[in-house]
Symmetry: C2
Subunit: 80 residues, 2 copies
Amino acid sequence: MLVKIYVTFREGILDPQGKAVLHSLHTLGYKSVEDVRIGRYIELNINDTPEEEMDSKIREMCSKLLVNPIIEDFRYEVVR
Amino acid sequence: MLVKIYVTFREGILDPQGKAVLHSLHTLGYKSVEDVRIGRYIELNINDTPEEEMDSKIREMCSKLLVNPIIEDFRYEVVR
């Protein structure tokens, strides 16, 4: 099964990389861009896990390793 | 308008960060994870751009700054 995880900074957390990219886009002339936020996109291939354990497994992996819950949020989808 | 851009390594390009995370997940006991790929997730807030120019603007920004087309692919969606 393919799991797609989207990790973003929480509301109110400063995103310096996003700010740098915003500045660069303005320098390149893309003034209509008002804000940039940069997060991570993680794809996991998982096998041999029963459908009903999938959610808890993914949440565990996120909280133990993939996501820093103090500054980051995540959402995910299971594709097939 | 909110634009969500997903940047991933091209097929066949080595993803060392993904390999490191895969190794860590195995160490933590998640042996059912077979592969990890890590990419970027970028959110742009764009105003004052006519709907019909949106696609070309986004592709321009990706090829000029946001994506390295030699090793990376991207897809995007315009949310509202």
